[in-house]
């Protein structure tokens, strides 16, 4: 039996200050990065928003011999376009739709849409794509067609600017939906456990989302629609983790009321450590596989899940539990302590619906 994880005695709560310091440091780094970038003259935006969110240029290229998607992607990478959307046209197999985000230096006009600026952007986008595609051969420019000039390799048959798939409407809706979802979580945990736990779990979720966003701002990873899916996944993952430990704390409190809440929480984290390591280790490794082998297009998604898997586990121990404990101590231990200590080894009403006969787990 692989039971090497059964006897852990770590004072997790004792390290809470260090944990919180680390979290605050990362969040500050994210804040500095996002604000700094916006206010630096000539700087970039707080986040590197992809073509899904801010729109861009779509170029339709017709090839004599269509290169593989990956080759086109690599060619675009050499000219600085890291996250193009490459979509083949299945009824015209020699044509490819290439969508790229706004080219640096040309920003989307915010209020008064200026036709000239837009045309400039489209031209800039076209020029960028052309410089990338030129690695496959000469473009049939102007009136020349692929048929009339045998030395050409491709022709850009259409360029246009595209709006955002996920405009501000979808973004706002995603945020409101998630906030309502968290409110539901808050109420349910408060009902099943206590307000203090509910607050701990929900604050931990906010923490996790902020940390992931901090990473995206600092490293300028591109945010596209898939990142929203990853963030939703992370919220579920983080809450799941918090509840597993809360459930254990609740059980321990009902079994053995002599210890302090502090000890009890540490004990619960240690008792569930084997589960934490197995489950979260598996999640972590699976996501790592996605980061390494998942390909270019899923990179943002994988990275968000990767950071999320780490911070989701960490926040349960470092954020959710300390907050719950801190708040309960504020309220006073009365509710916990005034119950007569129960002798061990007897028939106990566990906090669950059913009654179980059990000894406390040997330590």
């Amino acid at each position: 039996m692989s039971n090497f994880l059964q006897n852990i005695q770590i004072d997790w709560l004792g390290k809470r200050k260090a944990f919180i310091a680390v979290s605050i440091f990362i969040m500050l780094a994210g804040l500095v990065s996002s604000i700094g970038r916006q206010y630096t003259p000539g700087g970039t935006e707080a986040f590197n928003l992809g073509v899904d969110f801010q729109g861009g240029t779509v170029v339709v290229a017709k090839f004599r011999a269509r290169p593989a998607d990956d080759d086109i992607r690599n060619a675009l990478k050499t000219v600085g376009i890291n996250e193009p959307v490459i979509q083949s046209s299945t009824d015209k197999t020699d044509e490819v739709l290439i969508k790229i985000p706004l080219v640096e230096g040309t920003s989307q006009p915010e209020t008064a849409p200026d036709a000239n600026k837009l045309a400039e952007q489209v031209q800039a986008g076209r020029a960028t794509v052309k410089s990338a595609l030129d690695t496959f051969g000469k473009e049939a420019e102007g009136e020349i067609t692929l048929d009339s000039a045998p030395d050409t390799a491709y022709k850009i048959v259409g360029t246009d600017s595209v709006g955002a798939v996920a405009g501000s409407k979808l973004r706002n809706q995603a945020v409101t939906a998630t906030l309502f979802g968290l409110l539901g979580i808050l109420l349910f945990i408060a009902f099943r456990y206590d307000w203090t736990y509910a607050a701990g779990a929900v604050i931990a979720v906010f923490h996790d989302v902020l940390i992931v966003l901090a990473f995206f701002s600092v490293f300028q990873w591109e945010i596209n629609l898939t990142v929203i899916a990853a963030l939703l996944t992370l919220v579920g993952f983080s809450v799941n983790d918090s509840i597993v430990i809360f459930d254990r704390i609740r059980e321990n409190l009902s079994l053995n009321r002599t210890g302090s809440l502090y000890e009890m929480t540490n004990q619960s984290i240690n008792q569930t450590m084997s589960r934490t390591i197995v489950t979260n280790g598996l999640v972590f490794l699976s996501v790592l596989a996605l980061v390494w082998f998942g390909g270019e297009v899923l990179r943002s998604f994988s990275l968000a899940l990767f950071v999320g898997a780490i911070t989701g586990t960490y926040s349960t121990i470092a954020i959710a539990s300390p907050i719950a404990i801190w708040w309960q101590n504020k309220l006073g231990d009365s509710r916990v302590r005034d119950v007569t200590p129960q002798p061990t080894g007897e028939k106990l009403a566990s906090s669950s619906r059913r009654t179980v006969t059990r000894r406390p787990v040997t330590r």
Partner: protein, 567 residues
């Protein structure tokens, strides 16, 4: 006795598994030999699961809202309203202001409303009167000689065009959603005032019908017909010229000539196709009594004749109903026309005051009636739509990246399975069975609900699988703990499941609650995520708890005094 319980559990599991295998891998027709080959299974799987645009591709339609048509109608409406207001206005002495007529210029790039006066000194008074009634905020006004001219500057034109496109986008969005196109993407394309809209939708069975549905202008108006009242039959004209002649040779602001496709209820006439019937015209009073913007509800119902003859009933919002009620009350005996896109669909005399409902009949089939009701409900498009480009496209995530994503996920899954087998030995088999069954059942559930799988949906699936693994880990770790505490195998298994069940229920219900909220309040990708997650978690309560426990029960029933469990 205990054994019958076990047999019933086993039977439930086997039946559910078989149904799921059929749903996921089986054909939706009489099975034949090819369905049992690997390729046949693959084909069926691809057919059964609807994949979204990002994973499979679909149709790519570029359309353009005819914004110039919108501006033209705006100019015309403003002109007739302005003329009406100017003619009604009086000066301080109570005399008319001497307004003679008005005209409209509406060519691309140049939109003007002109009102002519007999006395230039009254211009200021006319402008005042007009401004009270008509919204000329974006227009620049000028006077020259005896005329007042409002013209629309280029910048305002651009802004209005953009607004019209934006409005069309919303209406198209509601139409394709109401039609049931799953997970479309809809975005503006081209310059801000180009009026272009790009619609991508995953494999739609009937793209032509969707195209017609999206492009339907659906401008509904109820208008008074110029005709002697009932019992004299409604005044119709055999040609447009004859109709025009009756109103003095040309259409005016208050009189319009419209085509009237007569609908005869008699069985013989119903067999004549509409385009072979003689064309008829009627004269109607403009502006309309009420229009489509006042509609509250529209539905297709079977006509009185039954069979394949359908009509559309509609009802008004309170304000529209009031307006309509007032008007019908005053016009009993007069004829009224139901006008759709400038064509009279039916004409009838008003028997009594009508408040809130009416109907459109006009030889509709069930599909056309359904579609028309749907487009009426979603509102009229600000202007017509033309299709500019149509193609079918591959997945937006790129076929190659989907392949590598799938490969990485399968790699991750195999790793998880190997780990569970290595770490939990015999019980690991148990977990793997539960896990595989979970994925199979989730896919089957997605098929039953007709959901479209997109990348966010897959993210939901991944979280669901993660929580399924977690459930097994929680149970097994708990059983190990109880065994360490000195309990026998069967006690430990039973307690492990019971205790872990409390945790599992709490984590699952929390996530289900938040997913349901996501589903209700979210849209598109967020809904897709929520659906797969909810299904995955509900199924996990069955697979991780019920199925896994049944397997342990089998093991224990064969050896009740078991002392060591492979875990």
């Amino acid at each position: 006795m205990k054994n019958t319980g076990l047999l019933i559990r086993t039977a439930i599991i086997i039946v559910i598994t078989l149904v799921a295998v059929y749903l996921v891998f089986g054909p939706r027709r009489a099975p034949n030999a090819s369905d049992f080959s690997l390729q046949g299974v693959k084909d069926n799987l691809a057919k059964n699961i609807n994949l979204g645009l990002d994973l499979k591709g679909g149709s790519h339609l570029v359309m353009r809202v005819k914004t110039e048509e919108y501006l033209k109608r705006l100019a015309e409406n403003n002109e007739s309203a302005a003329l009406l207001a100017a003619k009604e206005a009086k000066d301080e002495a109570g005399n008319p202001l001497g307004v003679t007529d008005g005209s409209v210029v509406a060519e691309s790039g140049n939109y003007q409303v002109k009102i002519n006066l007999t006395d230039a000194s009254k211009a200021a008074a006319v402008i005042d009167a007009v401004k009270k009634k008509v919204d000329f905020v974006n227009w620049t006004e000028s006077t020259s000689g005896n005329s007042i001219i409002w013209s629309l500057p280029a910048q305002a034109q651009g802004r209005l065009k953009e607004q019209a496109t934006e409005q069309a986008l919303k209406i198209i969005d509601s139409r394709i959603n109401a039609f049931g196109v799953k997970e479309p993407t809809l975005q503006r394309q081209g310059a801000a005032d180009s009026g272009q809209i790009l619609l991508q939708m995953p494999g739609v069975e009937n793209p032509e019908r969707v195209k017609a549905l999206v492009g339907e202008t659906s401008r509904l108006e109820l208008m008074k017909i110029v005709s002697p009242p009932n019992p004299t039959p409604v005044q119709i004209y055999p040609s447009k010229e004859a109709a025009l002649q009756s109103i003095g040779g040309k259409e005016s602001d208050s009189r319009k000539v419209l085509l009237y496709t007569d609908r005869d209820d008699s069985a013989t006439a119903a067999n004549t196709p509409p385009d072979q019937k003689p064309k008829q015209y009627v004269v109607v009073e403009s502006p309309a009594v009420v229009d489509g913007s006042e509609l509250r509800e529209a539905a297709a119902i079977q006509g009185k004749g039954g069979g394949s003859d359908y009509q559309i009933t509609f009802s008004f919002k309170p304000a529209g109903a009031q307006k309509f009620g007032d008007w019908t009350g005053k016009n009993i005996g007069n004829y009224m026309a139901v006008v759709l896109n400038d064509e009279v669909k039916s004409a009838a005399y008003i028997k009594s005051q009508i408040f809130d409902s009416g109907e459109i009949s006009g030889r509709f089939t069930k599909n056309t009636a359904d579609d028309l009701a749907l487009t009426l409900k979603s509102g009229a498009l600000p202007a017509g739509i033309e299709y500019q480009e149509e193609r079918t496209v591959g997945p937006s995530l790129g076929a190659d990246s989907i392949r590598s994503g799938v490969a990485a996920s399968i790699g991750g899954l195999i790793f998880v399975i190997l780990f569970m087998l290595a770490y939990y030995r015999g019980s690991g088999v148990n977990a793997v069975i539960a896990l595989v069954l979970n994925m199979l059942l989730t896919l089957a559930a997605l098929i039953v609900f007709g959901s479209t799988l997109t990348l966010p949906g897959i993210a939901g699936l991944i979280l669901g699988i993660g929580m399924a693994v977690d459930s097994n880990v929680l149970i097994f770790e708990r059983i190990r703990e109880e065994m360490r505490a000195g309990f026998t195998v069967s006690e430990a298994v039973s307690m492990g499941f019971d205790r872990a069940f409390v945790t599992i229920i709490d984590t699952h219900i929390t996530t289900i609650i938040s997913s349901v909220i996501l589903y209700v309040t979210g849209s598109g990708p967020i809904k897709g995520f929520a659906v797969t997650l909810i299904l995955g978690l509900l199924i996990n309560l069955f697979t991780a708890v019920f199925v896994s426990r049944t397997i342990f029960m089998w093991i224990l029933s064969r050896n009740p005094k078991m002392e060591k469990l492979s875990i």
